[in-house]
Amino acid sequence: MAFESLPDFLAMGGHALYVWLAYGAFALVLAVNLLAARRLKSRALREIRFQARVDRKETCD
């Protein structure tokens, strides 16, 4: 391990600002990509289900 303690780890030898900014951006980019991809697919599925219901209703009427 490169660090003695948790505060030592968080301080990153005086480079905390830069290291955590970079890793924070990394986490943000991953989260945004994950959520956006999931939303794209679930929205498509929702719309297809909705349209199918509408069509079924029309044929019944």
Partner: protein, 245 residues
């Protein structure tokens, strides 16, 4: 299955949707495993650099994100070529799915580069060959994205974005050789196919794990997006309706 059958089957959105599932799950699992190992390794166990100290840890996200930003663009260029030569609709789906992922990865490469540059070079931004050509890469992603938003006709939209994707690949060798052509602050590549990295394994191995993890991650996200786009485009077909339930 032979290569020719595989190629032929890619023309079927339904077949692609099915085959993408196990691949997506595999990429997702690999990404979760590799990224968690890689992050702990890079942040906690890798030694600090003797000159840069702990700021060196930014390397573990900067280099993988830059590699992937370029790889995704090459992938888009290949998809553009496939679209032109074989008129495969799935290639257009691939371009559309790659765009936001590649764009954010390029932004991450630039941002982490700036954040790394400040403590090591003394500046957030340096107009050197590599940063500028990577900025061009970001503009190419944004440009193709804007183009797709602007063109309503799907046929024309596909062709125009494929063309721009192909033409833009000229920028990839420029990014690659920029550090050799213009001697600047930016250090040359750490990873090449022909030589061993000029750093000890305890420093480059975590970077390799992070890179493989990030490749798996974008594999997962791009396949997920492609599946979503296929569903949108095939919304009126019976197989999609059955699948949606």
């Amino acid at each position: 299955m032979g290569l020719k059958t595989f190629w032929h089957k890619l023309g079927s959105p339904r077949w692609f949707y099915g085959i993408a599932n196990p691949w997506r799950v595999g990429f997702g699992l690999a990404a979760a495993l590799l990224l968690s190992v890689g992050l702990v390794w890079a942040l906690v166990y890798a030694p600090p650099d003797y000159q840069q100290g702990n700021a060196f840890r930014i390397f573990y996200i900067h280099v993988p994100s830059a590699m992937i930003a370029q790889s995704i663009y090459i992938g888009m260029g290949v998809a553009g070529l496939v679209l032109f030569v074989w008129r495969m609709k799935l290639a257009d789906v691939a371009i559309a799915a790659c765009l936001p992922v590649g764009m954010t990865m390029t932004a991450l490469a630039l941002f982490s580069g700036g954040v790394w540059g400040k403590p090591t070079w003394g500046t957030w931004w340096e107009w050197d060959g590599r940063t500028v050509s990577t900025l061009v890469l970001l503009f190419l992603y944004i440009g193709i994205y804007a183009l797709r938003q602007a063109i309503m006709d799907p046929e024309l939209r596909g062709k125009a974005s494929a063309l721009l994707a192909i033409v833009g690949t000229i920028n990839i060798p420029i990014i690659k050789y920029s550090v050799d052509w213009w001697a600047t602050l930016h250090q040359p590549a750490t990873f090449t196919l022909t030589e061993k990295p000029a750093m000890p394994p305890e420093m480059y191995l975590p970077a390799l794990v992070m890179a493989l993890g990030l490749y798996s991650f974008v594999g997962y996200v791009i396949l997920q997006r492609m599946q979503g786009l296929v569903l949108e485009r095939e919304a009126r077909t019976s197989w999609v309706r059955e699948l949606a339930g």
